[in-house]
């Protein structure tokens, strides 16, 4: 019998995934000092801020630049990517990425814009899908979601029935998702969410939190 992410969700103590908008992380300004003030706008003069998913969405409403910086600070609160790599590749390509996000906001995510967004060296899905999610981007009428190494690990290990078509497109040797895979993942998460009256991001957050072989998530639900 195949696993079900909804059954897993319901049987888990991680039920507060439903409060996904309150998933919050403390971000310290000192972790971002190496970027010559490019992230200062997030801190508004403070040494540290508490940033929730809801806060990042609100920042995207205030401006695209603010939203982009908040998304990345929320996702990489230590000021580095996994393995201690810097966020410079993201910052160096900031304007290009911003222009692609604008296009996606107007036209929806397509294969061409997905590839444009992921074309920069060392700016891959761990970064770009956070931007797609927080900017309220849409792919084929489904909301874009975060798809990072933790979500991928969950899908590969538990192989939930709700994501059968996504799983059929997943290859063990692929480090990054193709457009088709990402689209299917968002569509299946959306369909599953609708069926169970949940926000699709709550399912994504549950998979993120329950990822096997990963350290506990640093974010907390407030």
């Amino acid at each position: 019998m195949q696993n079900s992410v909804i059954k897993h969700f319901n049987s888990s103590s991680e039920m507060n995934s439903i409060n996904f908008l309150n998933q919050t992380i403390e971000i310290k300004k000192k972790n971002f000092e190496k970027y010559n003030g490019q992230f200062d706008v997030i801190f508004d003069g403070y040494d540290k801020v508490q940033l929730s998913r809801k806060g990042v969405f609100e920042n995207f409403n205030s401006s695209l630049e603010m939203g982009m910086l908040s998304s990345i600070a929320w996702g990489f609160q230590k000021g580095t990517r996994p393995g201690g790599k810097t966020l410079h590749p993201f910052l160096e390509n900031f304007d290009d990425i911003k222009n692609v996000l604008k296009k996606i906001a107007n036209e929806g995510l397509s294969e061409a814009t997905f590839n444009d967004l992921n074309m920069h060296k060392n700016v891959k899905n761990g970064v770009t899908t956070k931007l797609l999610y927080f900017s309220n981007s849409v792919v084929n009428s489904s909301p874009c979601l975060i798809y990072d190494s933790r979500v991928k690990a969950y899908l590969e290990e538990f192989r939930p029935i709700e994501f059968n078509r996504t799983l059929a497109l997943m290859k063990k040797w692929q480090a990054q998702p193709t457009f088709d895979l990402y689209k299917k993942y968002c569509e299946e998460a959306h369909a599953c969410a609708e069926k169970h009256s949940l926000p699709s991001a709550a399912i994504e957050m549950f998979m993120f939190t329950a990822a096997p072989g990963k350290r506990p998530a640093q974010h907390i639900i407030k």
Binding site: R81, G83, K171, K172
Partner: protein, 161 residues
Amino acid sequence: MTERTEFVTKDNVHEATNLEKIRSLMINANRLGEDKLVKKCKKRIFEIAGNEGETEIEIRLFQALAAYEEILREKHNKAVRANYTKRKIKNKGAIQTLTDWALDKKVTPGFEALVSQGLEDFTGEKIVIDFAEEFPVEVVESASIKLKNVSEEIENAKLSN
């Protein structure tokens, strides 16, 4: 908790910690041709070995090392320790060890054996792919190509059989 129970069975092997008992179950499963259970036992043996690691990536690397030792054990019919690799991890660290493995164009019989048994999660190349953001792009590409090629060869061989 499982330590207190007398037997390691197919139902509790995923949480068992007694290597001797897991190995015994695996031998019996192998004798009876229960491939799925053999795979479960192997996975558990490798997972336990990961306890030597501290970071997520080290845990996976030590699991891969245990998998490599298991392949050597099967080949030589006795326990063989991968001491050279352990020294390398100690001296160069997990990232450099995995980088060297991924960039090495040579496909080892151990790598092929693990992929053919559906245990590619315990290869260094798969660890590089799973932690892609921690490695240079060319290292990830090399790991992906190796895993893709070997997976496809194995798949094609299965189809032609």
